[in-house]
C-alpha cells in the first residue's frame, strides 16, 4: 500500500525527467516531502531512473542535447527541492576523479558525464579541462578515489591518456585505481592499446561502466558483507 503510493510518486518524477517537465518534477518532489517518502529513494528511484531512460534514448539517438537539456532542467528542479533533505550518509556511492586530459580544453561531453554521475549518487571530483597527467593521480591518491575518468575530443591528446596509464604503472597503482576513457577521439581499440580499464562510447555508457568499475573494486568487500548478512539473517 505504502509501496504503491511511493511508486506512483517515483513514476511521476521519472516521467517529469523523461518529458523535461520542470513543473511536474517540482510537484513530484513536493509530494515526496509531504508524504514522508525518503528523499534519497525518490532521487534514485524517481529522478535517476528518469535520467537512465533519457540516457537510453540518447544512445538510440532518439534524444539529443536539446532533450537532455530539458530533462536535466527537470531533474535539477526536483533535485533542488530534495537535496537539502537527503541525509549525508546516503549520498555517496563512490568517488570519481573526472577531467579532460592535458592538451585539450573541450569539456561539454565531460560535463554531461558529470551530471549523470552526480544524479546517480557518485561524488565527482571534477578537475576541469587540460588536466596535467600528474594531477589525475595525485587527486586520486589524496581523495582516496578508486576511479579516474578521462575524456578528450581530439586525437592528438589521446597520448595524454596513455601518459596517465603509464604513470599509474610507475606508481604501482595500476589495478588499484581503475581508469575509464571517453570522448569523440577515443575508441575501444585505443582503450585496449593503452590498457585502460573501460571505454564509454557516450555519457550513458560511461556512467554504466563506471558503476561496473566501482562495484568491481568494492566487490570483494561487498561480497563479504553480503555473506555475513546472509548468515545472520538465516539465523
Amino acid at each position: 500500500m505504502d509501496d504503491d503510493k511511493n511508486t506512483k510518486v517515483f513514476e511521476k518524477l521519472t516521467q517529469a525527467v523523461i518529458t523535461g517537465d520542470c513543473a511536474m518534477a517540482e510537484e513530484g518532489a513536493n509530494d515526496v516531502l509531504n508524504k514522508g517518502i525518503p528523499p534519497y529513494d525518490a532521487v534514485i528511484n524517481g529522478l535517476a531512473e528518469g535520467m537512465k531512460v533519457v540516457g537510453e534514448k540518447y544512445e538510440k539517438k532518439e534524444y539529443f542535447l536539446p532533450e537532455m537539456l530539458l530533462s536535466a532542467d527537470a531533474m535539477y528542479a526536483g533535485l533542488n527541492i530534495l537535496t537539502p533533505h537527503i541525509k549525508s550518509e546516503d549520498k555517496q556511492k563512490g568517488k570519481v576523479i573526472l577531467g579532460v586530459v592535458e592538451g585539450d580544453i573541450h569539456d561539454i561531453g565531460k560535463n554531461i558525464v558529470k551530471t549523470m554521475l552526480t544524479v546517480a549518487g557518485y561524488e565527482v571530483i571534477d578537475l576541469g579541462k587540460d588536466v596535467p597527467v600528474a594531477e589525475f593521480i595525485e587527486k586520486a591518491k589524496s581523495e582516496g578515489a578508486k576511479v579516474i575518468a578521462m575524456s578528450t575530443l581530439m586525437t592528438p591528446t589521446l597520448m595524454s591518456m596513455k601518459a596517465v596509464e603509464e604513470k599509474l604503472k610507475d606508481e604501482r597503482l595500476k589495478g588499484k585505481v581503475k581508469t575509464i576513457i571517453g570522448g569523440s577521439a577515443v575508441s575501444e581499440t585505443w582503450r585496449a592499446n593503452i590498457g585502460s580499464d573501460a571505454f564509454g562510447a557516450d555519457a550513458m555508457e560511461a556512467v554504466d561502466k563506471i558503476k561496473a568499475l566501482v562495484s568491481s573494486i568494492t566487490a570483494a568487500a561487498e561480497a563479504l558483507k553480503q555473506e555475513e548478512k546472509k548468515t545472520t539473517d538465516e539465523k
Binding site: 539517438k61 542535447l65 537539456l69 592528438p156 597520448m159 577521439a185
Partner: protein, 638 residues
C-alpha cells in the same frame, strides 16, 4: 479590354513578351527561358519559386492559401509571390531574386580570374645590352644592371650567385639580347632572347581533402590552366588532427611522408597544367599556397604537435618564403614558394583569404563572415577591430557521418522540399541525374523542410505519429525513425535515400557549434545580430545553400535574407590573388596581424550557448522572430 494582351518583363534579365491576360507567372517565365527554381512542378507546395512583383500590382490574383503558407506578411507587402500560383491580369515587371534563380552548373568551379591588378613579385625584362669594349670595360654584371636601370627604371638589383655562374656564356650566346628574370630585387635567371611574354606562376589551395592548382600568367593575371587532386594525406588520416596524431606517434619520418605526399600531388598538378597550356615547368617562377594551419605545417614539414595541444599556438604566423626546390616542387630552380600567413592554430590562411575576399579590414560597416567546413571559422567586426573564432563543427555538412550523405557531385540531392499537407517530397539533384545521396545544401534544407512539415520537432526528434500518416516516415533496422526522400526505384543506388534520426542529430551538432560560435563571438564584441549589415557565408558548398533554409534551422543568427551573401570557396581565389599581387600579400600580412583570435572553448557561455543552439532553430525563440512567424504559418506553434 477584352482579349487583352499584357506584357510581362522579367528582371534582372530584361526579357519580355506579350501574354493573354490571366497568364501564370511561371508559365510565362518558361516560354522566355527564364529559369525560376521549382521543386514541386508548380503545385504550390515547395515554396521555392518566390518572385517579386515590381510593377503592375493592380492586376494580380490575390494570394492563394498555398501562398499564404509560404509567404510572410512582410514578404507579401514587399510584393513577393509564388510564381506558380500567381496570375497576371495587367502588364507587370517581375523580379527573380537570386535565391529563386536556378543555379547553372553546380559543379562548376568558382570564377577563375581574380579582380586584382597584377603586380607580381616576378617580372621579366627584355634587354639589349651593349657589350664591353676596350674603351669601355664593364663587367657583365654592370652591363646587365645598367641596362635594367636605364631602360627599365629598376634600381638596387643583385645578380644571384647561381645566375652569375653561367651569365657570361648566356650573354654571349644570345648576342647580348637576353631577358632578365627579376624576383623581388634578385636577378634569378637570364634567358636567351625575348621571353618576357612567358612569365608564369602557380597558385595552390591546399585543402585537407582537396587540392586545387592554378597555372597563371603573371603578366596578365589570367589563369591559363587548372588541375585538382584529392589530398593524398587522407590515406594517413581522415582529418587534420588524426594526421597530426600520426606524426606524433611515428615521428619525423611520418612528417616527411605527409610532406612528400602532398608535394608529389602538387607536382602532378603542375605537370598537368603545364602540359595543357604548353608551358615549361621551368617557366614557373613563383608559387603561392593557401591552406589551414595544419596544412601549412604538414606541407612545409614543420613539427605540428604543439599546435594540436592547448592553447593551440601556431608555429609560424607570418607568411613564409621558401625556395620551391627545397620543398621538392617542380618549377624554375630558383622559384620562390610563398605560404600566406595564418591567424592561429585553427585559423589558417584560408581564413585570411576569406577576409581578403570580402575586404573586411577596410569595412566601415560591421560584417560577419562564416566559412563552413570541418572547422568553421567565424569573424565579426569592421576596420576598427575584428575577432575570429574556430568552431569544431565536424564534417556533417560535407556529407560525412550521414547515412546517405555525399559531397556535391553528379546525382547529389541538393534541393529538397516536403509538402506539409501530403508529406510528399520533391527534390532536385546535381545535373538532374538519378539521386545517389544528399550533399551539403540538401542536408541544410532537409531538416528545415521536415521541421516545417512537423515531421521533426524543434528538439530535432522525429514525430512518431507521422509514421501513421505517411509511408515516408518509417523505422530503420537500428530502431531509428527516418524519412524517405527517394525510393530505391528512383535512385541510382540499390537502396532508398533517406534522412535518419541519427543524421538529424549529427546535423544539429554541427549547426549548434556554428551558431553557438557566432553568438558567443557577438557577445564578446558587445554586438547584437542587428548590428551586422552583411553576413558572408563562405565554404566549398556555401554558394548553394538556401539562405532561408539555413536560417530556418538556425545555422546563423537570424537576419533578413537580403543581408546574407554567399561567397563560395575563397581559398583558391585568395591564393591566386597573392600569387599575382604584391599588395595582396601585404594585405594578407596585415590581416594576420590585426585580426584577433578568440578561444571559444574557454568562454564561460559557450557550453550553454551550444546546448541552446542545438535546438532547431534555437531554444531561445526570441532570437528567431522570422522563424517563429514561419512556423506559425505552417501551423507549428513554437
Amino acid at each position: 479590354m477584352k482579349n487583352s494582351e499584357i506584357e510581362i518583363v522579367f528582371q534582372p534579365y530584361g526579357s519580355r513578351s506579350k501574354y493573354p491576360s490571366g497568364t501564370i507567372i511561371m508559365v510565362a517565365a518558361k516560354t522566355l527561358g527564364v529559369d525560376i527554381s521549382s521543386l514541386c512542378a508548380g503545385n504550390g507546395t515547395c515554396g521555392k519559386c518566390k518572385i517579386r512583383i515590381q510593377r503592375g500590382t493592380e492586376g494580380i490574383s490575390s494570394p492563394t492559401e498555398k501562398e499564404l503558407k509560404h509567404l510572410s506578411q512582410k514578404e507579401l507587402k514587399a510584393g513577393f509571390r509564388l510564381a506558380c500560383q500567381t496570375k497576371l491580369r495587367s502588364s507587370a515587371t517581375i523580379f527573380v531574386p537570386e535565391r529563386s534563380r536556378v543555379g547553372k552548373q553546380r559543379l562548376q568551379t568558382e570564377g577563375l580570374n581574380v579582380p586584382v591588378k597584377p603586380s607580381p613579385l616576378v617580372t621579366k625584362h627584355y634587354l639589349e645590352i651593349t657589350p664591353p669594349t676596350l674603351h669601355n670595360v664593364r663587367s657583365d654584371e654592370d652591363g646587365l644592371l645598367d641596362t635594367l636601370r636605364i631602360k627599365h627604371g629598376l634600381d638596387n638589383l643583385r645578380v644571384d650567385y647561381e645566375t652569375a655562374k653561367t651569365l657570361p656564356i648566356k650573354l654571349r650566346k644570345a648576342e647580348w639580347n637576353v631577358t632578365a628574370v627579376v624576383s623581388e630585387k634578385r636577378i634569378i635567371d637570364i634567358e636567351h632572347g625575348d621571353t618576357s611574354e612567358r612569365c608564369f606562376g602557380f597558385a595552390v589551395d591546399i585543402g585537407s581533402t582537396k587540392l586545387a592548382g592554378f597555372l597563371m600568367n603573371l603578366n596578365t593575371g589570367h589563369v591559363v590552366a587548372v588541375a585538382a587532386r584529392m589530398n593524398p594525406q587522407i590515406s594517413l588520416g581522415e582529418d587534420v588532427l588524426s594526421r597530426i596524431s600520426h606524426v606524433m606517434m611515428h615521428g619525423l619520418n611520418a612528417l616527411r611522408e605527409l610532406h612528400e605526399a602532398v608535394v608529389s600531388s602538387i607536382n602532378e598538378m603542375i605537370a598537368e597544367c603545364c602540359e595543357k597550356a604548353n608551358v615549361g615547368t621551368g617557366e614557373i617562377y613563383e608559387l603561392n599556397f593557401v591552406g589551414n594551419t595544419a596544412m601549412q605545417m604538414l606541407f612545409l614539414e614543420i613539427w605540428p604537435q604543439y599546435t594540436a595541444l592547448s592553447p593551440y599556438p601556431p608555429v609560424l604566423r607570418r607568411g613564409i618564403d621558401v625556395e620551391a626546390a627545397q620543398l621538392g616542387l617542380t618549377s624554375h630552380p630558383r622559384a620562390n614558394a610563398h605560404y600566406v600567413p595564418v591567424i592561429g592554430g585553427f585559423v589558417g590562411s584560408d581564413s585570411v583569404a576569406d577576409l581578403m575576399a570580402i575586404d573586411m579590414l577596410n569595412s566601415e560597416e560591421i560584417v560577419m563572415d562564416i566559412d563552413i567546413g570541418t572547422n568553421t571559422e567565424i569573424a565579426v567586426g569592421n576596420k576598427d577591430s575584428i575577432l575570429i573564432v574556430s568552431c569544431a563543427s565536424g564534417p556533417a555538412f560535407e556529407g560525412m557521418e550521414i547515412k546517405h550523405g555525399m559531397r556535391a557531385a553528379t546525382g547529389a540531392i541538393e534541393r529538397i522540399s516536403v509538402d506539409p499537407d501530403s508529406l510528399e517530397t520533391h527534390y532536385r539533384t546535381i545535373e538532374d541525374a538519378p539521386p545517389v545521396g544528399i550533399c551539403g545544401s540538401g542536408l541544410v534544407e532537409a531538416p528545415a523542410e521536415l521541421l516545417k512539415a512537423g515531421i521533426i520537432n524543434m528538439t530535432g526528434r522525429f514525430n512518431k505519429e507521422m509514421a501513421k500518416k505517411t509511408d515516408r516516415v518509417r523505422t530503420t533496422p537500428e530502431g531509428w525513425l527516418e524519412y524517405v526522400i527517394a525510393s530505391k526505384e528512383e535512385s541510382a543506388t540499390d537502396s532508398d535515400i533517406t534522412i535518419t534520426q541519427a543524421d538529424i542529430r549529427e546535423l544539429q551538432k554541427a549547426k549548434a557549434a556554428i551558431r553557438a560560435g557566432a553568438e558567443v563571438l557577438l557577445r564578446r564584441m558587445k554586438l547584437t545580430k542587428d548590428d551586422i549589415t552583411t553576413l558572408y557565408v563562405a565554404g566549398a558548398f556555401g554558394n548553394y545553400i538556401d539562405a532561408e533554409s539555413a536560417r530556418t534551422i538556425g545555422l546563423y543568427p537570424e537576419l533578413p535574407l537580403d543581408h546574407i551573401k554567399f561567397v563560395g570557396n575563397t581559398a583558391g581565389t585568395g591564393s591566386r590573388m597573392c600569387l599575382i599581387s604584391k599588395q595582396m600579400r601585404e594585405y594578407a600580412e596585415r590581416i594576420s596581424e590585426n585580426v584577433r583570435y578568440y578561444e571559444l572553448a574557454v568562454d564561460p557561455d559557450f557550453q550553454s550557448e551550444y546546448i541552446k543552439a542545438s535546438f532547431l532553430p534555437h531554444q531561445d525563440m526570441s532570437r528567431q522572430p522570422f522563424v517563429t512567424e514561419l512556423l506559425k504559418r505552417h501551423g507549428r506553434v513554437p
